[in-house]
């Protein structure tokens, strides 16, 4: 039986571990040079910052995962630096891009552990040099050992906001401010008396306390108004409104922003897995059962790509998906392990739901962005242009859903295929059409998952 695992983050590593335990030698594909996923991404060879500096309070988990990853490489068909850009149905084929060459791999089953990426709300000025996502700011630090600027502001909401700010502080960066769009009361209410994962909660409180103790400006319930700057110099300031309604300016030369993460679900989508809107996560998520099974035969999902749960959940979900695959294939499975993991996953799900309530996606901020804001930065489509596509008086009439709006305006048609702006675009369109964001749909997945260079295509087999 030929089994593939896509991804070598927390979910992928634990999935492969179970498959190898059962005697399989899976094909293991990962985009990064040396695995680890985004959260435990490893620096390039020769970088000397240790695990404690790179991963902070998660250093032990990172080290353990890396050790397992390294031990599994020789007993699997390990292919780092490999993008899976499409997935075919019959035969089940993974279409890969590695070292600039395209190839196809026939498999009987695949566990997709494709992770997540930042949720972004475009602001006026967000395309200036110096603006990056929170995840991007963290990768710069982890993988390259550098900060995104000399005087960095962090803006957004969610656990990553505090973690990244803390990591920058620890690394010696100057932090202009940490601005949280969620009011304190929202978080307090959602998290009050939530003992489901006290460790995670305690870590969050620890980061906030350390930032405040360092004298860094920390504000909650803020409203960002615009990122200011000029072409060559990039970001110079953030214009924002505090919880009391006062307009303020913050000098900074770089800005990391983000509002939680969303699943990277294009491969699941291309494989034919049904996708639904999860109102708690405020994300489109692939449909799967608690074990990671989908309605598409041979396709299993685990980790944040299957719905946001975080790294600890991903490790457990990866093991479960592998166990489900083994059981479905009639191979020896570990029922006791599954029972244990499922019980823990159920507890984690309750905590995660509270976390989502504590750090809700700022739908209203997205929906109310000024008309002149560049919404789709790849295609330079403004929020106003998208709103115009919802007007019945337009030359093509009103676009009733997001793919039709894409067709009219080119929104989401650029290199990122709407992965960055798609969620905010949906909020803008839904608000203008006066319906819920779930009703206007999502940008459909289209291959390639990421840009596919012409030089990757193998030479034509026929003479012209």
């Amino acid at each position: 039986m030929r089994v593939a695992v896509v991804g070598a983050g927390p979910a992928g590593v634990r999935a492969v571990e179970q498959l190898v335990r059962a005697g399989l030698r899976p094909l293991w594909l990962d985009e990064a040079p040396d695995g680890g996923g985004r959260i435990y991404q490893r620096p390039p060879a020769g970088f000397t910052r240790g695990a404690r500096a790179l991963y902070g309070l998660e250093a032990a988990k990172a080290t353990a995962l890396h050790a397992t990853l390294d031990a599994l490489k020789p007993v699997t068909d390990w292919r780092p630096g490999t993008l899976v850009w499409d997935i075919g149905a019959d035969p089940r084929q993974l279409h890969t891009l590695r070292e600039g060459r395209a190839a196809a791999q026939d498999v009987d089953a695949a566990i997709l552990c494709t992770g997540a990426m930042d949720r972004v709300v475009p602001l006026p000025g967000w395309t200036l040099p110096g603006v990056t996502t929170l995840g991007g700011a963290q990768i710069a630090l982890k993988a390259q050992g550098c900060a995104i600027g000399r005087c960095v502001a962090f803006l957004g909401s969610g656990p990553l906001l505090w973690l990244v700010a803390y990591q920058y502080m620890k690394a010696g960066a100057t932090i202009a401010a940490v601005l949280d769009t969620t009011p304190f009361a929202t978080k307090a209410q959602a998290l009050a008396g939530l003992p489901h994962d006290p460790a995670t909660l305690a870590k969050g409180l620890y980061y906030v306390a350390r930032l405040r103790a360092a004298g860094i400006l920390v504000a909650e319930g803020v409203t960002p108004l615009a990122i200011e700057g000029e072409g060559e110099r990039g970001v110079t300031a953030l214009h924002w409104r505090d919880a009391a309604g006062r307009e303020r300016w913050l000098d900074c030369d770089a800005l990391g922003l983000g509002w939680g993460v969303r699943p990277e679900l294009q491969l699941a989508d291309l494989a034919g897995v049904p996708i639904r809107f999860d109102p708690v996560q405020h994300n489109w998520v692939p449909e799967r059962d608690a074990m990671g099974r989908t309605s598409v035969r041979g396709i299993y999902l685990a980790g944040d790509g299957a719905g946001i749960g975080g790294a600890d959940v991903a490790e457990m979900a990866g093991a479960c998906a592998a166990q489900a695959l083994l059981a479905d294939a009639g191979l020896p499975a570990d029922a006791a392990l599954v029972r244990r993991l499922q019980a823990r996953l159920r507890r984690q799900a309750r905590f995660r739901a509270a976390l989502e309530r504590a750090f809700p996606f700022p739908a209203q901020l997205a929906a109310s962005m000024p008309d002149e804001t560049i919404l789709c930065r790849c295609e330079r489509v403004t929020a106003g242009e998208l709103r115009a596509a919802a007007e019945p008086e337009g030359p093509q009439g009103a676009a009733p859903e997001v793919n039709r709006a894409k067709a009219f305006t080119r929104i989401g048609m650029g290199r990122c295929q709407g992965r960055v702006c798609g969620m905010a675009a949906a909020e803008v369109l839904a608000a203008r059409l006066g319906c819920g964001v779930a009703e206007i749909g999502r940008l459909r997945g289209q291959a390639p998952v990421k840009p596919l260079p012409f030089i990757a295509a193998p030479e034509a087999e026929e003479a012209a």
Partner: protein, 381 residues
């Protein structure tokens, strides 16, 4: 169910042909109801390559193509938008002597339909289009042809048709269709509609509509494999194809290069369609052989849609062979985008006047059928 909505003409299928028919009929004052299963222009009309060409068309199609060309030029006054139609010319290339001979042979066909073509040898080709690689040895250039944005045409036609008074219902799949007492009764979206005339512009699914009236034809799904690159500096002005048609490409002023070639896969029952990775890669090789500068570029998106392909690769256009008042225009075999605007005008004439000036020889559904009487109570449920 309540009493049927009365109309003069019912249309099944909201692609370019159906929406254009709705527009022309409404402008003539007819009460028209168009029924579309999804959104207008969702399948072949919206997902196609966007080529607006007459060069290379089958002689039976050329009169329609000529008429459509005139409508394309008038789109801004007709619709309030040109749908990005540009007459950049269409360059058809030969990559070997056999393909060059094919181009030469077509020059006579074009001349007999007043279609201007310029034949270019290899040296002339490269002088005029220096971005071409060595694979092309000859070409035939049609200056009147060009391209347009397929995502815009059907919605723009639909909006103009609605403004003119037509009723276009989207998300209204036809669930029953009968011809009783000289009138068609169609059920869609939980409502009934009745009219003396029915237009079948249902694309691939037009075969099913025809079959309801005893005119089953061998139409099969056609799923072109399409892709687009990231934007690069604008150099490829004409719409480019090859003899044999296994790759075609055009660049929009924004910079993206749109490339088609080969077939994806699809399931009309869902309906769903998608490109196939191996076909995408093959078309990429063929495109880079024509335009070597593409070697440094990436494809960012691919797609497909479902059209109807007839065995002789030309559509069914004209009156039904079994049922008076029924007119077909389906199975466009990959040629419908350019023809659509004129098809609407022609269907309007057939429905209201019983005749059209545009020759339709060779396109009748009768070419697939032995003449036979209409089955009693033709119906589907």
């Amino acid at each position: 169910m309540t009493a049927p909505v009365e109309a003069d003409v019912l249309i099944i299928g909201g692609g370019g042909a159906g929406c254009s028919a709705a527009l022309h009929l409404a402008r003539r004052g007819a009460r028209v109801v168009l029924l579309e299963r999804g959104l207008v222009g969702s399948q072949a009309s919206g997902a196609n390559y966007g080529g607006v060409r007459q060069q290379g068309r089958h002689p039976a199609e050329l009169p329609i193509a000529r008429r459509s060309h005139e409508i394309w030029r008038r789109l801004p006054e007709l619709l309030g938008t040109g749908c990005e139609f540009v007459q950049t010319g269409h360059l058809k290339l030969a990559r070997n002597e056999a393909e060059a001979a094919e181009l030469v042979a077509y020059l006579d066909v074009a001349a007999s339909h007043d279609l201007r073509l310029e034949f270019l040898d290899g040296a002339a080709l490269r002088r005029r289009f220096p971005w071409l690689g060595p694979a092309a040895i000859a070409g035939s250039f049609a200056p009147e042809d060009g391209s347009a944005n397929p995502r815009l045409l059907s919605p723009a036609l639909a909006r103009a048709a609605r403004q003119a008074g037509a009723t276009l219902l989207e998300q209204a799949a036809v669930t029953a269709c009968q011809h009783e007492g000289g009138r068609f009764v169609v059920e869609a979206g939980g409502r009934r509609f009745r009219a003396e005339r029915l237009l079948n512009t249902a694309g691939f699914w037009g075969g099913q509509v025809a079959a309801w009236f005893g005119e089953a034809v061998p139409v099969r799904p056609h799923t072109p494999n399409m892709m687009v690159t990231e934007p690069i500096p604008y150099v490829i002005e004409p719409n480019v194809g090859v003899a044999g048609g296994n790759v075609y490409l055009r660049q929009i002023p924004r910079g993206n290069v749109i490339i088609g070639g080969g077939h994806g896969m699809g399931d009309p029952a869902v309906p769903m369609s998608r490109p196939l990775a191996q076909v995408t890669l093959q078309a990429m090789r063929r495109a880079a052989a024509l335009v070597p500068a593409l070697e440094g570029v990436s494809v960012i998106r691919s797609w497909s849609g479902i059209d109807g392909m007839m065995p002789d690769k030309i559509p069914v256009v004209g009156p039904s062979g079994t049922t008076p008042g029924l007119f077909h225009a389906f199975g466009f075999s990959g040629h419908g985008f350019q023809l659509g605007p004129a098809i609407g005008a022609i269907l309007c004439e057939l429905a209201l006047d019983g005749r059209t000036e545009t020759p339709l020889e060779g396109l009748s559904i009768r070419r697939f059928l032995a003449p036979r009487p209409m089955p009693a109570g033709a119906a589907m449920t």
